[in-house]
Assembly symmetry: C2
Homo-oligomer: 351 residues x 2
């Protein structure tokens, strides 16, 4: 019988942050693809489009005029999924028909006044401003709300409906499903093992190096052992940090630098502006601010769908939706591919 | 303060099969869409294409020649994610780097010899043959494997790479994540409430009618109270049935009929061949065959992504991946839209 080789032999890996498993079937990369091909993202976006509601000086859906902003710019989402004042559906429900109140607020934050730029092409000082705003948002919205989800959908493939560089913030009075899982798993881990899960994990990955993509004095980016999306990464501080606002000035500069390096590698992988959804998970806020949340470690998830080229993505469909998530290359293979890529952006090189 | 109206006021609904919540923000349907539009599925697929490996008489990737089949046809997936003989990764793992053996088998089943037909356009007797094969597969593969996942990815949007009507079957020696959840939730419910969850649920939905899409003597299709995808449905027997092979001849005919009616409505909704991923969940098999599994009720899930038209889909991206699934119309609205659609297929009507 052959000895186990993760590149050749399918196996399951455990995700300790979600208490679930991922099926790794790396031998499957060999299969040909005749299905849907993605439209590569547009390359001729105008720097300024007066009809784009995210541009400086534009009129938005609610009639407001954007200022002539020259850095970041924040406004309330004109079509929010969460509003601050929804009435309560009551609490007297049959176990099969349970509902509960959801209150919150949705904001949009533009990263830059130009529509034809993305984070990896921005200056570190400009990225730093985005990071400072993220931290401010956690302070501001976290005072009242239990969970402040900062996320970026990048690329049409990830449901992004506007090419202007921006992220969103949806804050809620409830702990959503994903952070509820992360809360429980991290709490149990600290209790059982005496150290916050992701603090231990970062240390071990920094030692092993096999899944590291980029690192610096304060941060580490790995393709996690349990990654589900082909080039999924996890961005972790080396120090134990509960929430974004705790980051020092130095750690923020260092974060701007490592984000630029990671995102440049992502773009260089298939020489295309790389689509992804990303977001920050830190300790819950609101009433949790007063509790001991030391089992938490701040981290960001990057979930990019592309698999084999600028036009071939991984679909999480039938088997994945009904049974189990499945991936077609090992996390170690993905990390190696990303690691060996240059850190000069292909667009800069070409000009 | 206004009284609660689920169509106007966002709220959370509980999914008792997955022990998680979905955010319902129906007021959000009003937002304009400027993002990615889907290519409507092709309408001129040739009935027979000798280069399509799923057609009768074609040569497949492994060199085998398909028979000139005239009904269903089954073969082993040429690029299987699960193979029967993968070696074991061992069991001595650090808690953050856990893996385990995954063994299984992947099959493909063609529904019909023609490439230009889909289930809703097939005759009930032809659909019945598909159902019989599904039941046989559970008997055959379920003897050795713990979980036999029958699923269909329909449409390029759902990662389907071949237009020929077919489904897949992936059987495994482990209980995947989704059935593990369904197992736990149904077990707890029976213990707590004295009746299998989905038996009680079907009875209550049949009474309430507000989420029913189609029904007959043996079957019920509802947009579940906790649906996440816009037009997601749940197909349930009225009788308590653990697994597909238990269905009587009458119940199978009746299933063929209700599937045809449901899928015709799906196609009629936006007058397009409706994309979805669907699959069957019944009580686990293998060593579970000897256990009391009466907390289970057989059911099928349909997960279709289209939201507002043949070209506008729902994206489950940033907020959904990182925080919480979210939907843009109420399940009751979706059920009503589907219910009032005709049961004659738009393609038949036009000819
Ligand atoms: O096996 P297929 O149809 O080529 O592949 C499709 O279904 C599989 C099972 O859901 C997925 O893993 C693939 O990503 C998808 O493209
Ligand atoms: O708010 P946007 O960017 O228009 O919308 C996008 O992100 C949202 C949050 O992940 C999703 O609910 C939408 O389906 C998606 O299209």
């Amino acid at each position: 019988k052959p000895t186990f080789d993760p590149k050749e032999h399918q196996h399951l890996r455990y995700n300790p942050l979600r208490d679930s498993w991922v099926l790794v079937s790396a031998h499957r990369m060999k299969r040909p693809w005749k299905g849907q091909v993605e439209k590569p993202s547009e390359d001729n976006i105008p720097r300024h489009d007066p009809n784009n509601p995210l541009c400086p000086g534009s009129v938005r859906a609610n009639g407001e005029v954007n200022p002539e902003y020259d850095s970041t710019f924040m406004f309330e989402n004109d079509f929010p999924a969460l509003q601050p004042d929804a009435p309560d559906p009551g609490s007297d429900h049959h176990p099969l028909f349970q509902s509960k109140a959801a209150r919150g607020i949705c904001k949009v934050m533009c990263f830059h006044p130009w529509s034809d730029i993305t984070l990896p092409l921005m200056q570190p000082a400009e990225i730093r401003k985005v990071i400072d705003k993220w931290a401010d948002l956690i302070v501001e919205l976290g005072a009242a709300y239990t969970w402040v989800q900062i996320f970026e959908n990048k690329g049409a493939m990830m449901g992004c409906s506007n090419p202007h560089p921006h992220c969103q913030v949806w804050a809620s009075n409830f702990l959503p499903n994903e952070p509820t899982l992360a809360e429980r798993c991290q709490r149990d881990f600290l209790q059982k093992h005496g150290e916050p899960m992701l603090v231990q994990y970062a240390r071990m990955e920094a030692q092993a190096q096999v899944r590291v993509v980029v690192e610096n004095e304060h941060w580490l980016v790995v393709v996690p052992y349990w990654a589900t999306w082909p080039f999924q990464t996890l961005l972790l501080p080396r120090r134990h940090v509960l929430r974004l606002p705790e980051l020092t000035a130095q750690e923020r500069d260092s974060l701007a630098s490592i984000m630029k390096r990671l995102l440049t590698k992502y773009d260089n992988l298939f020489e295309v502006s790389f689509s992804y959804s990303m977001g920050w998970h830190g300790a819950p806020t609101g009433s949790y601010l007063k509790e001991d949340m030391s089992h938490w470690q701040l981290h960001a998830h990057y979930y990019p769908p592309l698999l084999r080229s600028a036009t071939i993505r991984k679909f999480m469909v039938g088997y994945e939706m009904l049974a189990n998530e499945q991936r077609d290359l090992t996390p170690e293979q993905a990390a190696e591919q990303l690691r060996k890529l240059g850190e000069e952006h292909y667009k800069v090189k070409k000009t």
